[in-house]
Amino acid sequence: MGQEKVLMTGNEAIGEAAIRAGVQAYYGYPITPQNELTAYMSRRMLEEGRVFIQSESELAAISMVTGSSVSGKRAMTSSSSPGISLKQEGISYMAGMELPGVIVNVMRGGPGLGNIGPAQSDYWQATRGGGHGDYRTICLAPSTVQECADLVYLAFDLADKHRNPVLVLADGRLGQMMEPVTFAHLPDAQPPEKPWALTGAKGRQPQRIVSLHLNLDELEQHNIKLGKKYAKIEKDEVRFEEIQMDDAEACIVAYGTSARVAKESLKRARQQGLKVGMIRPITLWPYPYEPVRAAADRVRFFLVPEMSLGQMIEDVRLGVEGKKPVYHTGRCGGNVSTAQEILDELHHCCQKTQTATRV
């Protein structure tokens, strides 16, 4: 694969980007709609002479990632919503042991087994921990196939930089759709030295990496240390895109597939004379509260289209701090709003806020 554009599914682009990022081991277990990723890795990892294992379960896969990571290797697993729930124990342990690793969730409808349609209903799980304990995971949300590649590549760097698991949150539509993608700007990565890794104690003192701290004060100190790391990530790693926010009177906040549909609604709204802008979070944690806070002083209202009953809307409200109305729109259960539906809701919100101003 040279410099040219190739046509790929989001799932395949994620796999190829991971290979370029130097993933040494991939562990997966089949589930729709992310199967093309596991299938891609089953072929490409062998071509590259790296490790591919189709594990016996999702918990086994995340535990294998833990094992590879503790020995200093770049490792990855992927699944879709129900499978990601099963991995939460391992993710919590990795966070506790400060182990890097990349976990890809190609979200589908839930709760439970739900269905195989695209969804964004794992936002809370992805951004609020998911597993037990006081921890955070960096969460990246692509909205195009190209961004699937770019963000997975970035995910490995962020994971190593902060010694923390990183989640990539895509959805069934992104995983399944094909778009042109290029890897020309993603050179074969050189992962950093990891002096903390357990590589056999030959010529050095033995090291320990554990998640069990029976002494209460010791665990408290560990929690505080993690807290400082999370604060630094919140300071350094926020990523977002702003679209036509300069003169915006209404602000859409959307990520992933919802954002690309809403972009079309924005375009049509502008043609109709509505001054609409958009903030598209690329990191869901750390969340781009600052641009939302700044927009709250300028726009009349916020509209948050999501493929769920409304989860990210809580983060928007945290940013807005009650200054302006924040409305949700969207479909769920594996359905996705159309650009027209979001546009209709924009008009509806305009009417609502006009009435409110008059009263």
Partner: protein, 183 residues
């Protein structure tokens, strides 16, 4: 330039291949493209379909809500999708397997006996490339030679055995369409 197509039929009729080929061709023409397949449980027994969008602008959603072109290869997909065809659109139906009951309003309606034509060429599996030739003739995406080259590239050297048949199928679909459009 905006072309939104739904290509639908039985799983196994090569519709996904046809959709991907169209998408690749237009990607090489420097346009924005998306391809979105039906996936999972839906394809078993019923209809398989894919949505192809080609645009000079960025593409928001890969899902076709209103089709500029509808290619249907069997009766169930004809019934299912005929309502999403735009009145200015083109309907390409495989009339070997479709009775066009209650046809939708369309600018162009092309009845292509693709399965029969492919069978006459020696292999019923080439029906998708008959349709590809027809589709390309209706929309004039790329010259015939270009289409054939990209078909060959898509199959690759390992399946060079099918190049010749598919080239004839594309040519037959093209010729049939040009004659129909001239009428």
């Amino acid at each position: 330039m905006l072309e939104r197509a739904i290509i639908a039929g039985f799983g196994g009729q090569g519709l996904m291949f046809m959709g991907k080929l169209t998408t690749k061709i237009m990607m090489h023409e420097g346009l924005h493209v998306t391809y979105f397949p039906s996936y999972g449980a839906e394809v078993r027994g019923g209809t398989a379909n894919c949505h192809v969008i080609v645009s000079s602008d960025e593409i928001a959603s890969p899902v076709v809500e209103e089709a500029d072109t509808l290619v249907t290869m069997n009766q169930p997909s004809y019934e299912r999708f005929k309502t999403v065809l735009a009145p200015h659109g083109a309907m390409l139906a495989n009339t070997s397997l479709i009775r066009m009951t209650d046809p939708p309003k369309a600018k162009t309606t092309l009845e292509v006996p693709a399965t029969q034509m492919a069978s006459d060429l020696g292999d019923v599996r080439a029906a998708n490339m008959i349709m590809m030739g027809a589709y390309n003739a209706v929309r004039e995406f790329v010259p015939f030679d270009n289409l054939v080259e990209q078909m060959k590239a898509a199959f690759g050297e390992r399946k060079a055995a099918v190049w010749e048949l598919n080239t004839r199928a594309i040519a037959a679909g093209r010729k049939f369409t040009q004659e129909q459009l001239r009428k």
